[in-house]
């Protein structure tokens, strides 16, 4: 085990140093190569048990973690909100302690409450991996975005990364902001003033409400999924106005530099935050993100799983 890593948990990118982030990305390089082999499995976590504990629904992240664990030879069980005792009134702490009593080595937690992974990490000997907590952090998404930028552009330092959408409620945005600024990128957040409060400037990023002014200078555009469900009705008037003002339409994409990357954490709303032609276009690295997510999650499970007792 390398001396560069000594955390049993991955709770967020805010608490990591640039060296630690780079170390995860370098570890992911090795695992990405494993994915291209005929035998895609390594014995790194053989005999370890991983629990995918998803208190909030998710398909893509859960599947990615599950596959990452399989490729590391761990045994995996999935528990969702509907199958857990949480629906019977059991507390998160009790549920998690029960899982630990079953000798689960790694707990991958998705939860609607910010701070839920911290809460468990402080109370469990198992590794806790944050797979998204409320509007707080989604560190493996942040890492796979960093990995993809680094892979495609050869560096992160000094690149201008534009993140567009519902920043206020986005854990993906926060993990990206923390990771990108630590690695020296310049970050601009774009979206309606209600969803991108000026307070974000205190995190060392720029805030803009005018996408057309920002796009020509972007090296990477990361579009977040936008929804107009009940709790967002007061934040912006509707989807079509959003698309008019902030959508990466075919027309607007012409403002981009030819080598600008187009990213999206998915699932994408075609015709809403991004036009189909752009999502499927030459600048899009959306599917590379998915592939890289597997390598990054293998790296994270390997590193944290190797630390936990």
């Amino acid at each position: 085990m390398s001396t560069n890593w000594n955390r049993k948990d991955l709770l967020g990118l805010r608490e990591l140093s640039a060296d630690e982030i780079n170390f995860i990305l370098e570890t992911a390089d090795a695992f990405k190569q494993v994915g291209t082999r005929e035998i895609k499995k390594v014995p790194a976590l053989r005999g370890k048990t991983l629990v995918n504990f998803f208190v909030e629904p998710s398909t893509r992240t859960r599947t990615s973690f599950e596959l990452a664990a399989f490729r590391l030879s761990a045994d995996v069980i999935n528990i969702s909100a509907t199958t857990s005792s949480l629906t019977k009134g059991e507390t998160l702490k009790d549920t998690a302690r029960n899982l630990e009593a079953l000798h689960a080595d790694i707990l991958v937690l998705r939860h609607s409450s910010a701070g839920a992974p911290q809460f468990l990490a402080q109370r469990l000997k198992s590794s806790v991996i944050n797979a998204g907590d409320g509007a707080h952090e989604h560190p493996t998404q942040g890492l796979l975005d960093l990995y993809t930028i680094r892979e495609k552009r050869g560096k992160i330092d000094n690149l201008h990364v534009v993140i567009v959408g519902d920043i206020l409620f986005s854990r993906v945005a926060r993990s990206n902001i923390f990771g990108l600024t630590k690695l020296g990128a310049r970050v601009t957040l774009v979206g309606p003033s209600t969803l991108v409060p000026r307070e974000f400037e205190k995190l060392g990023v720029a805030v803009s409400n005018q996408i057309d002014k920002v796009l020509p200078d972007a090296d990477v555009v990361n579009l977040l999924r936008i929804q107009h469900e009940r709790q967002r009705k007061e934040y912006f008037p509707g989807i079509s106005e959003y698309t008019t003002l902030f959508g990466l339409t075919k027309e607007r994409a012409k403002l981009l530099k030819p080598d600008c990357l187009v990213m999206h954490p998915g699932p994408i709303n075609r015709g809403v935050e991004i036009d189909s032609e752009v999502a499927d276009g030459l600048q899009s690295v959306i599917l590379d993100q998915v592939t890289n997510g597997l390598a990054v999650r293998m790296a994270v499970l390997y590193l944290c799983g190797g630390i936990a007792a």
Binding site: R14, T91, L92, K93, H111, S113, A114, G115, A116, Q118, F119, D133, G134, A135, H136, E137, F169, R171, R174, P197, E199, F200, K202, L203
Partner: protein, 425 residues
């Protein structure tokens, strides 16, 4: 006939503008003149180096009974008060059932008479079931002996209902206490809206959500010519609004809790629910404004908002945890330490006034003074005694305090209620 002489202490009695080293005499449970001692047996208490203050009053306490005895009982809460130096506590009506009817008030008073070591004074609800929809029977509550009305923990959102409540309370002669929170502005907010809520992705509770209701209360106090007291003031704008209104002669006042001057929202960064309270911890600028408000007497009352919760209730996800922390056993120490020793905002005389004369005036209590003939409620305070908070030694039934391990300077060392020592260090 029994008599007690508290000897050689520094007697501070703001109601009588008294501050002198002198003996204090108690005869038959009341403050007396030394000459009134005849031949009865006399107990002597040495108070050399101590402050002899009127029994302290905490006018904002949740005792949880009826309904939530697993958090606190009237007996355990009263004992926590005694251990904190309080001889009188005013309990909030958000119990189960709510204290919105004379029978529940009678039940609380009976329990207090049977089990409480300090004076327990109930408040009644403004609205039925604290639902903010119809007036509670405020006149009957007054007859049952409440000292004020409040929907604390909740806030009447309907300004018309609040207006009528204030008008009606004026007729009954009861002050109105208000937990200032605009539900639309606050939404699902759990922490101060600002840098830390942005960083942590926790739903923000904007200061404007308090200030809007403080403003509403100023307008209604003016319209109805009756007193409204803003509970647990936390925001810079609230202090400014109250100050301006008081200058115009509006009957508006405000109180301060220790956590709102001792902590800022930076403390929430580890998602520890012992830093979750309502209103939330705010910024350094808010803390500074509250300190100034205390210094210039805009904010006139100190209290705890003692809000006990069981460990299993607090030990959950941050946004799902109940609001509130216990405070009775730490508040005096924190306020002396912060206001007198650290920030030099007020002296110990004013601090005692804010805990005695001020709440007694607001609530028209027969308490808060050492006048001859007054009930012998006395708190002995060691203003320079250094001590460490140990939540595992609390008398309260709950432990939800962020101050465990804090080193403080100043505390109560003896609490006397009606001439009887109910707690001693």
């Amino acid at each position: 006939m029994s008599a007690i002489i508290i000897r050689n202490g520094r007697v501070i009695d703001p109601a009588n503008k008294r501050d002198e080293v002198v003996d204090l005499t108690i005869v038959d449970g009341r403050i007396a003149d030394k000459s009134s001692i005849e031949n009865q047996k006399t107990e002597s208490i040495d108070a050399k180096g101590l402050i002899v203050a009127p029994g302290l009053i905490d006018m904002h306490v949740h005792l949880r009974e009826p309904g939530f005895g697993h958090k606190e009982t009237i007996a355990s809460g009263a004992h926590a008060a005694a251990a904190g130096g309080f001889t009188t506590i005013v309990c909030m009506p958000n119990t189960l059932p709510a204290a919105d009817n004379p029978a529940t008030i009678a039940w609380i008073k009976d329990r207090a008479a049977a089990a409480a070591s300090v004076n327990v004074l109930p408040t009644g609800a403004i609205s039925k079931n604290i639902a903010g929809e119809e007036l509670a029977p405020i006149g009957s509550l007054g007859q049952a002996g409440v000292v004020a009305i409040t929907d604390d923990g909740h806030c009447v959102q309907n300004h018309e209902l609040m207006r009528r409540a204030v008008e009606y309370a004026r007729m009954v002669g009861l002050p109105v206490l208000d937990h200032c929170q605009d539900y639309n502005l606050v939404g699902k907010g759990v922490v101060n809206e600002g840098y830390w809520s942005t960083l942590l992705g926790l739903p923000g509770w904007p200061a404007a959500g308090e200030e809007a209701i403080v403003m509403r209360n100023i307008l209604l106090a003016e319209l109805c010519d009756h007193h409204i007291h803003c509970q647990h003031v936390s925001a810079v704008g609230s202090v400014r609004l109250i100050r301006e209104a008081q200058a115009r002669g509006v009957k508006i006042s405000g109180e301060v809790c220790p956590h709102h001057i001792a902590l800022t929202d930076e403390a929430i960064q580890n998602f520890d629910t012992n830093y979750k309270m309502n209103p939330p911890l705010r910024s350094k600028a808010d803390v500074d404004a509250i300190l100034e408000g205390i210094a210039d007497c805009t904010l006139s009352i100190l209290c705890s908002d003692h809000a006990p919760h069981a460990g299993f209730e607090k030990e959950v996800e941050f946004d799902q945890a109940p609001f509130g922390i216990v405070g009775l056993e730490t508040e005096l120490g924190i306020f002396i330490d912060q206001l007198v020793h650290k920030h030099h905002k007020i002296d110990i005389v004013r601090l005692i006034e804010m805990y005695t004369l001020e709440p007694a005036k607001l609530l028209k209590l027969d308490a808060g003074t050492l006048s001859v003939g007054a009930p012998a409620d006395v708190t002995l305070i060691a203003p320079d005694l250094e001590w460490t908070v140990r939540t595992d030694q609390f008398q309260s039934a709950s432990r939800n305090s962020p101050f465990d391990g804090w080193k403080l300077k100043g505390r109560a060392v003896r609490t006397i209620v009606g001439g009887k020592t109910v707690w001693k260090l």
